[in-house]
């Protein structure tokens, strides 16, 4: 029957439109495993990554690390965290830099470098794909769209 075939075709089309599981993989915020930080809220993560607060609750200096613009996780991170486009993030940091308040977190090119940063900085905090978070780091926040 043409009607059933249409439904079938529609369903296949709908399934094709769904992003693949890999693309939808979860982003998580990770810290140095020895930082003493076990969990954070979304607002606490925002405060650290936007430089509003430079210390964790236990007084340890937060040392956030960001990814280069070319890395697709950066766009996803800020989109899920605050719903902002990268040019908004850029505008925010230009205000902080040129008003003399602060410099943005350093940027690295890959998830592996984020993990290296975290291991070498006691207050290191970054964001990686959940599948990349290993024993060297602790997941403190899971980003949900």
């Amino acid at each position: 029957m043409p009607f059933r075939r249409l439904i079938l075709l529609g369903s296949i089309f709908w399934l094709l439109l769904q992003p693949a599981a890999e693309v939808r993989a979860e982003l998580v915020v990770v810290v140095n495993a020895r930082s003493g930080v076990a969990a954070m809220t979304r607002n606490e993560v925002i405060n650290i990554f936007f430089g509003r607060n430079r210390q964790f609750f236990n007084g340890l200096e937060a040392q956030p690390v960001d990814l280069a613009d070319s890395h697709p996780d950066r766009r996803r991170f800020y989109s899920m965290l605050v719903g902002k486009d990268l040019s908004d993030i850029n505008a925010y940091w230009s205000r902080q830099v040129f008003s003399g308040r602060m410099q943005p977190p350093p940027k690295v090119n890959s998830t592996e470098e984020v993990l290296k940063w975290l291991v070498s900085h006691p207050g290191g905090i970054g964001f990686v794909d959940l599948s990349k978070a290993d024993a060297r780091v602790r997941v403190v926040y899971e980003l949900t769209p």
Binding site: N43, R52, R54, V82, S87, V97, F98, G100
Partner: protein, 408 residues
Amino acid sequence: MMISMLVRWVAKATSRNKKLVVLAGAACLLAASPVFADSESGFSLNGFGTVGLARTTTDDVEFVRDISQPRGVSKDWSPRIDSVLGLQAAWRVTPQFEAVVQATSRYRFDKTFTPEISWAYLKYNPIPNLSLRAGRLGTEFFMMADSRWVGYSFLTVRPPGDYFWYLPFYSIHGADAAITVPFGESVFRAKAFYGHSRGSIPLADEQWDISGSPMVGGYLDYQYGAWQVRASYANIHFKRDLPIAPVLKKALGISLSSQDAAFLATQDTRTHYYSLGLVYDRGPWQAQLMLNHIDQGSNALESSDGGYALVGYRINQVTPYLGYSWVLSKSRGNAPSAIAAYVMQDSRSDQQTTFAGVRWDVVRNIALKAQWDGIRGDASSLFPYRQDNRARWDGRMDVYSLTMDFLF
């Protein structure tokens, strides 16, 4: 060294051709972007700029960005009021110490684009949430006042005039301290500054030297998620009189009597600035509400209340916005003579502005903006303008502006 060379080069070029230097410099530096940023050595070099064009619908007054500008724009398109080029070098000496120098070239009190060292300070963070700075510093009289020239950092073509016209102060020689106190998920921040002001404010063809006038101020700020609230206060103690006598002499051939001069004195008067700001910034939405009250100590200047509301919504790379601003000054009504009354009328403002525009983030680090301002005021509203023709000015005009903001 690199910076001083660049600044010297810009200075040299500027003395030759004052208007084109902004454009030329911007083009050169853009081509070389990104200039330099090395997180390992802790040295970074960053720049910002705007190439802008603006015109109005009247020749009866000239429209300025703020009263630090001696001339403005009227019916002809002009790059004068919004074009700027800035360059910042920051050196993180140790994790606690940072040295910053920032130079800007913009249309200033002496009708040139002569580059200036706008900031030059040392910053010390004894603990991460405490920042101490000393040297030549930007002042945050009102929220965002210290990034007023970084067009890329905000939504509109320029900061709303009815709110910011009155703020010709850009930097002090002094010190400030800012402390951040996290409280649960929210963050409190307090800042205080003290210093001596720099520079001059133009008045007709004369200049009001405000250097050495002590300024003190501070703010309390609270941020929770997408919300930010700030209350701030500052005052300035003027050390010199406005150049009223030479302006009157030149413009009208009138001599200012000593009684009027004493009545209109600004020397040893104090002006107080109060402001309250509320910002919402999340997802595609951006909204701001700002209110201020300025209490002028001198009879020559009218106290005023002003404010603005602004809302923008991002659709992909395009953000349309809509805003409304207003300012109303309070007449003193105590002029001892007709001449004093004439001078006092010059600080009058009574107007409302509706503005609408669009910001388009074309590529990374470049934003194009187009804006319309519909200024609807009383004919007595003269303070924000230059070269006013009091007999013809009716208080109403439209302003059209186009800008390209960039970072490098």
